[in-house]
Amino acid sequence: MAEGDLTLKVQRFDPTADKLPYWQSFTVKPRPGMTVLDALFEVLNHQDGTLSFRFCCRAGVCGSCAMVIGGKVRLACETQVAQFVGKGDLMLSPLPHQPVVKDLAVDYTHFFDRLKKVKPYLVGKEPYPEKEYIQSTKERQPINDPIDCILCGSCTSSCTMAWTNSDYLGPAALLKSYRFLADTRDSVPDERLDIIEGESGVWRCHTQFNCVEVCPKKLNPTEAIQKMKIKAFKRKLFGRRGTKK
């Protein structure tokens, strides 16, 4: 290995052939601007065609390539390799607690199933207006952050509550629920609160802040969950009308 080279230690696993995952090392030559995703392609193209990983936009917007990089959940496409050179092997493993399709590619089925439980769509007030709903910039403010979620799964994969209870909706789905609850155009806050205050909802959050720590978009699902706890709690105290502020 030449000076300045980087060794990737990649967790390999083919569930149809391997009993257990194992680690395999590859050495790449970092060039300026090289990302972890670029490095994985370098391996795929020139060293080992059997490597599997997910990718798409390579610009941090599609949420395909979240994985554990050097002990931290990050997006491979926006993580520069230069920061790891000279610091030992760079460990790469799939998102934790998700079923592995192969190597670094995980199966998102359960992740999206959780999301589908929270009515992840706007139920607009009807009849629809002839043109757009009027929503001031101030009214849009509470959803400015939650709409930036790219559904990469980093948060839910890092939440120990989601690990131990597969029914728990988890931070990504709850953030999505909050996004609609906070949208002035939505018409079914009570239905949403019924879902999130249930057994698998907000009360399972133990405020460990793992989700906040790993979010590549710097969002704050924990805060959204606490805000929904307050909404649910107020509704219990003051009755259903209490939710309409």
Partner: protein, 566 residues
């Protein structure tokens, strides 16, 4: 064998919009290579055009003015009836998506905010910060969940089944299991996106390889106007990640190494907001003439004068990208940019409803060509194209299916096609060649950007065509190292490349034969537009020896071709 009455291939904006339209009426399923929210539509930033007249500076904007700007932007190659349809439908389609939850940015009155964009007479580009595509994509996926549209993800379409003049279904490779699967249908809507990865320096997602498009082409579906490839003026130097046109819409400057706003030399009136073909050529001319920054292959996109507040509110996404990928904060420093391949104006030849040559086969979005973009697409019109023609193709496909007997015909054809596909893939896997297909891919990308790029001429393009044909020959001698089933990227990328080489050839041949300059097709040996000979669409039909080129007429309604000045 799976069966649905309508299959939509692709879960991006056009595919989702089509499925949302047809699913309530006719059993419809979506097949997608990635989960819908991962689609390349999500990378669109700047916005979507509609003459809503919400901006105080656009009070007298109309769909007719939008239509004129689009036709002029297209260098008169767009079909004007289709453009009129699109611009008329724009408003209702945008309101609809807003009602479904799309979080547009707002005006002071709480209406959908609109910003100026290139080639447009009024600020008519509706936006949601600089992540419009992503928000629209999530909104339509959410709507598809509400409607319970079945989704088959991690599947790549590897063959189209046609029998006589009708479509019967598709063959897919299940990427998770590695098995081939048959999907039978009464109608198929191709909405698989563009093929930008054929080019080096592309802003496109890595999955934008046009695999479904090339599959259709190989099965006899003609491609239209493939030589018209859009180069976006502002892609990040190094990675070619998109820096939205919205940056210039909000007032950003383009500056060369002399500190000049050089657009004054090329489009004195529109300046940085001239259409993309013109701005890209201007930047490339500056670079070619040695006025790139430090003599390198880039100029500066300067946003500093917009101020911190405006950048954080209107352009937060590209600020993050510039910080992450070139370590430049646009609030403090100008961003190094160069033109990058961005969009394929051409695509599967369709009529105004998305219908193709085969009964029951439709195409919508970037993979298709109606044509509404002609020789040069205006920024903000691609998102519009996806929702307007996605919806239309969903409508028309549903009507077609409801109006015919659903006899599940074609099992024989499905099985025959499955056997052929299996033989093709097994052949690829068992080939013990000496070529690495990733090298062939890299050479194709380099050839196309260098020789069928922003500026073209005959000798360069002849070289390109010879190169592509040589690469096709070398492809016959590849090895796919990975013989496994699950998530076999090696195989998938080889399959994609096979199709990309066919499409690259169609682009090069179409470009060589078009002896004029029009929109994004700019020839140094034929500098003028030639309406006598080439006010026509190029139609490329597959043959094993290479594309057969014919021409079809352009629909002109009320906008007579004239010189294009900005």
């Amino acid at each position: 064998m799976y069966y649905h009455k309508i299959l939509v291939i692709g879960g991006g904006l056009a595919g989702l919009r089509a499925a949302i339209e047809s699913a309530p009426k006719v059993d419809t399923a979506i097949i997608s290579q990635v989960h819908p929210v991962r689609s390349h539509s999500g990378a669109a930033q700047g916005g979507v055009n509609a003459s809503l007249a919400n901006n105080p500076a656009a009070k007298d904007d109309t769909w007719e003015k939008h239509a004129f700007d689009t036709v002029k932007g297209s260098d008169y190659l767009a079909d004007q009836d289709a453009v009129e349809f699109m611009t008329k439908e724009a408003g209702p389609c945008i309101y609809e998506i807003e009602h479904w939850g799309c979080p547009f940015s707002r005006t002071d009155e709480g209406k959908i905010a609109q910003r100026p964009f290139g080639g447009a007479g009024y600020p008519r580009t509706c936006f949601a910060a600089d992540k419009t595509g992503m928000y629209m994509l999530h909104t339509l996926w959410e709507r598809s969940v509400k409607l319970n549209v079945p989704l088959y993800e991690d599947r790549i379409m590897v063959d189209l089944v046609v029998e006589g003049d009708a479509v019967r279904g598709v063959i897919c490779l299940n990427m998770k299991t590695g098995e081939l699967e048959q999907f039978m249908a009464e109608a198929v809507i191709i909405a698989s996106g563009g093929s930008g990865q054929i080019y080096g320096r592309s802003t496109n997602a890595l999955i934008s390889t046009g695999s479904a498009q090339s599959t259709c082409y190989r099965r006899g579906v003609p491609l239209k106007d493939m030589e018209f490839v859009q180069f976006h003026p502002t892609s990040l130097f190094g990675t070619n990640i998109l820096m939205t046109e919205g940056a210039r819409g909000e007032g950003g400057y383009l500056v060369n190494n002399l500190g000049e706003r050089f657009m004054s030399k090329y489009a004195a009136k529109a300046m940085e907001l001239a259409p993309r073909d013109i701005v890209s050529r201007s930047i490339q001319t500056e670079i070619n003439d040695g006025r790139g920054i430090n003599g390198q292959d880039f100029v500066h996109l300067d946003l500093r004068h917009l101020g911190r507040e405006k950048i954080l509110e209107r352009l937060p996404g590209i600020r993050d990208l510039a910080i992450n990928f070139v370590d430049v904060d646009p609030i403090e420093k100008p961003v190094p940019i160069q033109p990058g391949q961005h969009y394929t104006m051409g695509g599967i030849d369709t009529d105004i409803s998305g219908a193709t040559k085969f009964k029951g086969l439709y195409a919508a979005g970037e993979c298709g060509c109606v044509s509404v973009h002609g020789a040069n697409r205006l920024g903000g019109n691609s998102l519009l194209d996806t929702v307007v023609f996605g919806k239309k193709s969903g409508q028309v496909a549903a009507e077609y299916v409801l109006g015919k007997k659903t006899t599940k015909e074609g099992e024989g054809a499905m099985n025959k096609c499955l056997r052929e596909t299996k033989a093709r893939i097994d052949g690829m896997l068992s080939r013990k060649g000496t070529e690495n297909h990733s090298d062939i891919r890299a050479e194709m990308k380099e050839t196309m950007i260098k020789k069928v790029g922003i500026f073209r001429d005959k000798p360069l393009m002849e070289e390109a065509l010879a190169n592509v044909r040589a690469l096709k020959a070398r492809f016959a001698n590849i090895t796919v190292q990975n013989k496994g089933k699950g998530y076999n990227l090696d195989l998938i990328r080889a399959l994609e490349l096979e199709g990309m080489l066919d499409v690259a050839e169609a682009i090069a041949v179409g470009a060589l034969k078009r002896e004029e300059s029009r929109g994004a097709h700019s020839r140094l040996d034929f500098k003028e537009r030639d309406d006598v000979k080439f006010l026509q669409h190029t139609i490329a039909t597959y043959s094993p020896k290479g594309p057969v080129i014919t021409y079809s007429s352009v629909k002109v309604t009320k906008y007579k071709p004239e010189a294009r000045r900005y």
